[in-house]
Symmetry: C2
Subunit: 592 residues, 2 copies
């Protein structure tokens, strides 16, 4: 953040003591993230910035500070920064998300609005930016780089080229190119991603990476192309290799992926960790509400054995450097006055949260409610599936009666999203496929973005539901409608539910709706607060468990990756089955 | 350094192993500055960049690398980077300087052509840039910010405003605003420096600081204004305070200022040192030739107790980050292939020096001579003192005979450059001041830049010369001609010497020239190689010692700061005595 030259002059003069600062926070133990020391100090703030840090017990007179806050010997630490996340994953609007995380001390997040961009394109990116423009925290935006995730293999609501970047690159809080996840194209220097990265660099964006399981020469090629960060290290070896190769490793602790311990185990022997950061990636409202946000990730790092001072540094200064934010993430003259008062460096529960020099939360409560605002996009409908008729949900065979051999997407376990393609012989009656094994389900992926009228049908094994139908408009990454069902009646009811609530998730059993979670904003997000949403999501989880999804810690997450054609080996999009490695289609019927 | 997109594609494909790299350096111990580890590896280079680092002993076939170098178990470390220096202080041209430092493993320097800018203005900056454009090392340029050092109190050959920055900001190797040394103006937010810094920031230059003895609130004010680096820490306390306040501390080991040990002692207790770097500031040809360059600074750091791996990191990765050079200072995919092979991490004598992927020095010798080139500025004369007549060197009193009270610039010691103002009664004969104490000398500062015809006269005590005259066109920072003398005959001869060799330094005793060191380039630099210059400088030192300057390790440096009006308390410029703190003139004669 650059100051206007007149404000800068005031800051300089306030630092020098020639004019008073606005606030002095005294009687605190300063955590200096530059040196790793903790010592008594008084921190002076002028406007949105830190002007001076006094360690000599200078008397705080009216000509030095207009207001004084006694820190009661608390630790003063920088506001926490999330290196990578998707706010959409909280299922909250940017404003409700802000209200939920500020109280936990997260003053900055770097969010990649990749999900809403797959629905609403650049309008979605602009909405995420604008809706957070006046909240008491900083939501930096990385422009989504891979919309859709796998071109030609799926149809999302938008198709980003490098020219699209130029449309939003000048928004004030746009700082980076979001996770460059098409590592196959990047490592083979294909034009689409080369142009995207080149354009981003020309506009001084940092390039955020995404390279799960990428290693050796492929990793080198990927890094040479530009991305210098990655939040996808799951194993110790992976984290070690990436740090050694000069990447920033964002150790992730999302609601579902807990990687912090493995990452730390892989790098703790190193002398230096200044390219290690922390992130949430995807965190649910319920988790945020009850466990916390970045403070919970820091706690995980400490539990994994990291020195608390290093853990806090990873979540502040390191991240600021990673995203090229020059005056963020530390307590020093000229730095943005985002800081927390905490009683303990191990259990980061902020009694006070300051954002840009203002007290915005105290003892877990916002000091001032965030003003309610209504945005056009929140009122729009994104579920355009009127063209689908009930009978379209029957899987029609090329024969009228008898048996056919079909390709089936088989999940390897009840918790992981990886799959394999197997072949099964199935009965056909009246031209329709009949499932005789309760572990087999029909699946339909229905284009919902008004670009085309197209749906695909397939068979899935080992998905986990026992009976009924489960439908969702949250369906990474193109977020078409996915329905898994054993009978058309239930599926049809679930789809009607989604249409009537403008998107979300619906579970139907024996023609009764167990629960519908309404996510009317892009079919991805609720307009509810964290508290209300958390209750709603609990009911939805319960309904999913009733359908049989009892193995996953969060049963909401089973259906949402079924149509993600970057998770090997076979996934399904609105274009049909996709061979993830070959990027080719697989037909439903074998040899026909 | 950004690659053209086609070169980048080649780099990516070479990293991936799809096309061959140009070179593989194998059988080495890689110092990984990111992690601080040392391990066996093979480093693959494509063009000017590192493509891949293999740690799995992949066979090096022709389809992977066109050439192979066996490192014989040497350590492979990044090329060394000098965080701050003035090439003019070596008294060599940029090309001769390059030849002298490359063999020691310095592949990048950040030079502030402040000295030549005080003589030739922007033409001087352009010359320093252009003359180094094709040498096998990287000479980054910081645009001088304070020309002259103290406006109104001296007249240099140029007077830089923020608009001058715009004239050179787009030169390819311009990266920063050079040491912002007018900290008094900066800390009081005065317009000249505010505009300078603001302009620099708008053009993405980093702001290099210079804040000797600045502490407390003044330091905070200075940092708030923009400078985030400082190479002027002399004491442990100073280094500690600056690091704590978020500055990069460039620990200096120049030919004259040895600060590395004090700096390290002040910060070694800290957990983190990632904003600690190393620099030479001012290093003589003789020193470079016989001791080394940045490798000698690294050795000093190790002798001061720093872990060798950290010391090397300070001189590579830390500096690259400080100057915002994204792909410099480390061995990793996508980084510039500047690296050294050394037998020991403690005694950094490179057997091989690679710059941008090419072997440029081996066993202390350049692999290829640097092409001789002649530049206009090297042929020009910068010593314009024809207007001075011999009789102008007599110090005339306001009375014809008798005694007058005069202000005298008194050096506090025979080695430090700090002074105080004392008052002495002196004899006057025939209207001229007579010196009756051999410790008193006349001094003249003569404007030489053709801007004005002006000289000032004064009396100095404790300078150190016993007899004769010493004259110099090297005279920080405005580089007018300074002469210290006890008789006008010798002084006149010395001045004639300087005129005839287009500047330099001359010592005259009993009307005989002891030695003249010719520095025809701007009156600051020789056109000779390090070897020849070193011999010449030795003779000059010897001559200075004969005049009585026996106390200083380098007697050349006594006269060059006499006219530097930023060193307290009293100095002298072409405008007369200057009160350094008050920035006011002091008259020669008391109460007249």
């Amino acid at each position: 953040m650059e100051l206007h030259i007149e404000d800068k002059k005031s800051l300089i003069l306030a630092a020098y003591g020639k004019i008073p600062c606005d606030l002095a926070v005294t009687n605190i133990q300063l955590l200096n993230v530059f040196s790793g020391e903790v010592y008594p100090a008084t921190v002076y703030i002028k406007g949105k910035f830190i002007a001076h840090v006094d360690i000599h017990n200078e008397p705080i007179t009216k000509d030095k500070a207009l207001k004084v806050l006694d820190g009661n010997q608390s630790f003063l630490i920088p506001g926490l920064i999330d290196a990578h996340e998707h706010i959409e994953s909280s299922m909250m609007t940017p404003r409700n998300f802000a209200a939920s995380v500020i109280v936990h001390g997260t003053t900055t997040v770097v969010t990649d609005p990749h999900e809403i961009a797959n629905v609403y394109g650049l309008d979605g990116v602009r909405y995420m930016h604008d809706a957070a423009s006046d909240v008491p925290m900083r939501q930096f935006i990385d422009i989504p780089s891979c919309v859709p995730a796998v071109p030609q293999m799926e149809c999302a609501g938008a198709d980003f080229t490098f020219e699209d970047i130029l449309e939003v690159v000048d928004l004030p809080r746009v700082i980076g190119l979001g996770e460059v996840m098409d590592f196959v194209s990047v490592a083979s220097a294909q034009d689409r991603m080369m142009n995207m990265i080149d354009t981003a660099k020309q506009h001084d964006l940092y390039i955020q990476g995404h390279a799960p399981f990428v290693s050796g020469r492929m990793l080198s090629a990927y890094i040479c192309a530009g991305p210098k960060t990655c939040h996808e290290s799951r194993s110790s070896e992976e984290a070690k290799e990436k740090l050694r190769n000069g990447m920033y490793v964002d150790a992730r602790e999302s609601s579902i992926s807990k990687n912090v311990k493995a990452v730390w185990d892989g790098v703790k022997h190193m002398k230096f960790h200044d390219q290690l950061t922390l992130c949430t990636d995807d965190k649910e409202a319920d988790d945020i509400l009850h466990k916390g946000h970045m403070n919970d990730v820091v706690r995980s790092a400490i539990q994994a054995g990291m020195d608390p001072i290093l853990a806090i540094r990873c979540a502040t200064l390191h991240t600021a450097r990673e995203i090229h934010a020059e005056n963020l993430g530390a307590i020093a003259p000229g730095y943005i006055a985002d800081f927390l008062l905490v009683d303990s460096l191990e259990n980061i529960k902020p009694s006070h949260v300051f954002f840009e020099g203002e007290l915005v939360a105290k003892d877990g409560k916002l000091c001032k409610e965030i003003e309610k605002k209504v945005y056009d996009l929140e009122q729009q409908n994104s579920v355009h599936i009127d063209y689908v008729k009930k009978e379209d949900l029957y899987v029609k065979a090329p024969i009228h009666e008898g048996k056919v051999m079909v390709n089936v997407m088989k999940y390897k376990t009840l918790t992981l999203s990886s799959t394999e393609c197997i072949q099964i012989e199935l009965q056909v009656k009246n031209g329709h496929i009949i499932l005789d094994d309760p572990d087999l389900k029909f699946v339909a992926v229905i284009h919902r973005h008004n670009k085309i009228q197209r749906m695909s049908l397939g068979i899935v094994k080992g998905f986990g539901t026992v009976k009924g139908a489960l439908a969702s408009t949250v369906s990474h990454d193109s977020h078409n409608v996915t329905v898994v069902y054993d009978n058309v009646e239930d599926a049809w009811i679930a789809l009607q539910e989604l249409v009537s609530c403008k998107g979300g998730m619906s579970a139907v059993l024996d023609q009764k709706v167990l629960h519908t979670l309404a996510l009317p904003l892009a079919g991805l997000m609720s307009l509810k607060s964290a508290e209300a949403l958390s209750e709603d999501a609990k009911k939805m989880k319960e309904a999913n468990r009733k359908l049989g999804l009892t193995q996953m810690e969060n049963p909401l997450l089973r259906i949402v990756t079924l149509a993600l054609p970057v998770v090997p080996e076979i996934k399904m999009s609105d274009t049909g089955y996709v061979d993830v490695f070959k990027r080719e289609h697989i037909p439903l019927f074998v040899n026909i």
